[in-house]
């Protein structure tokens, strides 16, 4: 059987739930976007900050005033909590955002490439009142900033 036949067979077999592109990618015929950087499942499954950092391959962090985490003191709606992380630490290459009391601790990881500024904003879900933890990796060292957000109405069911 030629390689092409084999791929065709794989296509037919996997055709049901998969898109054509995904099947082709699985057969090595197309570059998969997801293959560029695999989604770190073990990190996103982490249940606390220490476990999550370990899964990310990041050392334990020390608090730094040069890492600025901006969150509201009180969030009426836990489904939409605005968060900004800005690092003034030279050589910041990675930022991570965690919520201690969410079912899974890790919310997001940002890779700060050389021309990017270590300043990102997003909106996150919080199940309940919790510490929000920002992590920065700068010059190979690990820094954190922590702030508590009081959540009036949890946003986990959304």
């Amino acid at each position: 059987m030629t390689a092409l036949d084999e791929n065709r067979r794989k296509l037919l077999k996997t055709g049901g739930g998969w898109s054509l592109a995904a099947a082709l990618a699985a057969a090595g015929m197309l570059p998969s976007r997801a293959a560029l950087a695999d989604w770190n499942k073990s990190a996103f499954d982490g249940k606390n900050v220490a476990e999550t950092l370990k899964a990310l391959g990041i050392e334990p962090a020390t608090a730094s005033a040069s890492l600025v985490l901006t969150v509201p003191d009180i969030a009426d709606n836990g489904a939409v909590v605005p968060v900004q992380i800005a690092s003034r630490l030279a050589g910041t290459t990675r930022l991570a955002l965690m919520v201690e009391k969410n079912p899974n601790t890790l919310t997001a990881v940002f890779e700060i490439l050389p021309d990017a500024v270590a300043d990102v904003s997003t909106r996150i879900k919080m199940a309940q009142t919790s510490n929000v933890v920002a992590i920065a990796v700068a010059d190979g060292k690990v820094y954190s900033a922590t702030k508590e957000v009081k959540v009036t109405l949890g946003g986990c069911g959304t």
Partner: protein, 99 residues
Amino acid sequence: MRIRAAVGRDGIVEVRVLMSHEMESGQRVEAGAVVPAWFISQVTATHNGRTVMTAQWGPSVSKNPYFAFKFRGGKAGDKVALSWTDNRNETRSDETTIA
């Protein structure tokens, strides 16, 4: 996606993005069954084809995600493109011109 990119006086380009996605948390129960997680897991931002930032997200990013970031080296008229992949391997890409 709605993307706005503008260069400031300091030469830094600020990009603000609104994506349209359910971002189902995987925690929600509907009719006695857990609704499976469905979320954008990877985001890539490029400036004139050069990657400036990538991100990995979990399902605790809010529904219809907002994402803002900044980079150096862009000027008015340059292209900024965003693309995402979700955990069902669906993808979407959009681009805009820096104002």
